[in-house]
Amino acid sequence: MENFSPDAVSKGPEDFVELVRRHSPKIYGLALRLCGNPVDGEDLAQETFIAAYRRLDQFRGDADFGSWAYRICVNLWKNRVRYEKRRAFWKHVPFFGGGRDDDDPRPLEIADPRDVTDAPAEAAERRKWVRDAIAQLDPEERAALVLREMEDKSYEEIAELLDLPLGTVKSRIARARQAVKTKLAPFLGDQP
């Protein structure tokens, strides 16, 4: 990623949009996968760029803007999880799609829902199962799995991003994998 200077946006918000355009695939992908659905994902991604714009004075010019925004996104997601946990505790309702109500209109998608065009029927079906399995994970386990499998972060990086001990990261990833594997049992049945 390129270095970024706050001077690049000194002319106004229009200049910042170029940065948004450049980094939104990465940030939006992360936000969508962390949240488990496109509605919350886009909301989180927007919030990330807005927070970055408003905190530009805190950004060190020699750092990587993408990494900085990436960290903002993860932090905002952590705040959301904390808030939703408190709300869910008081309201006794699930959040972020994990064990959610069937009436929830939000689709369970953590990858591009348009990507089913040319795939064989079984592969398309399996992708849908995989997306659903990941979306239904506990948010914190999902985050660990997403950062490991989709963002290709090391255990140490994940621990640092999520402010967790290394052992917790390992166990969350293991539990998430087990849960997804269990959900995909129909597709694993033919293995020796």
């Binding site: 992908g29 996968r33 953590i110 990858a111 992708r127 995989v130 390992k170 539990r175």
Partner: protein
Amino acid sequence: MTDITPEQLSAYLDDALDSAERATVDRALADSPALRRELEALRRTQAWVRELPAPGVPTGFEQRVLRTIQKPRARTNWWIVAPSVFGAAATALLMVMVIRQDRPRLMDKARAATLNEVSLLGAKTTAPITAGARGRAEKTKEAPKDVHPLPLAGSRAGSTDADGLGTTAPRVATADSTLGASVPAPMRRAQQAPESVAAQEKEEARGFAAGFADASPAENKTRREGLVGLKKAAAPSVLEWRGDDSGVTEFREIVVRSEEGWRILWKEHMAHRVPPPPVPPVDFASTQVVGVFLGQRPSGGYAVEILSMDGEGSEQRVTYRETRPPANTMQITVLTQPFHLRVTPRRDGPVRFERKK
């Protein structure tokens, strides 16, 4: 199967085990076909998760971000909010002042006012105020003739209070003057129903007039006549004060027999009131004030009541009861200072306070 945990197997998949652990898992895999199947299932699951295509950014995402950035941040318009905030603060301040001023009334309607004023039937005390006061600076080692504060108990006998009302008097206060000729009427609350007034009159006549058993029948007769005479007088007079909001914040049992002592006590009692209410007139020629201050209490629900006054030999006995809030009940959480002051027939001599359980 094996002793390999799912966590170890997951970390094996990520090559995140140290060499020793990895060797252990390798050996277990070599020995266990089931573990190999499990690892393979995890590998396939991992591959399926990783093959999910990256999502495309929704159309118009950047423009939506731009619009939000360009939108001015919602700021608090203090010109609109300030009056409301000021109003709320003023209301709160007013309520605090009202509560402070009329706390007892708010706390307990039964105890309808800080000063529970009781009228002497048809009488207005117009008699001249007796002299013989002792001021705040006049703390003395001897029990004064006109003011007789009583220490808490024998062990604390000798303690003094701060306003000249307290002295080192023993538990039984002494005074050298004789009982006045006129005896005040029984007290009754101004707004009581006639039947309860009558009952109270009866009780108090028993407690305050007939109670002086040491007095001769002729004396008591004189007292009762005095009551009747006072009843026939014209205007009411305050003869009792009871409440839980006093400037006297420590336990004190008092007898006041002079106007000056009464003024000093009243000043301390009303020290928290602005402006302090005027000192109520008391005819110390024929009456005296006995009272009990419980001192500071942590909440509402505490009260003190002087029940009766009678005589044993040459001394008078004041019986009072202290009540505490019942357990597990809600009480207003303000500091209270329960007190009860009563104007009683004057009788110079020792006074013994007895707390009734």
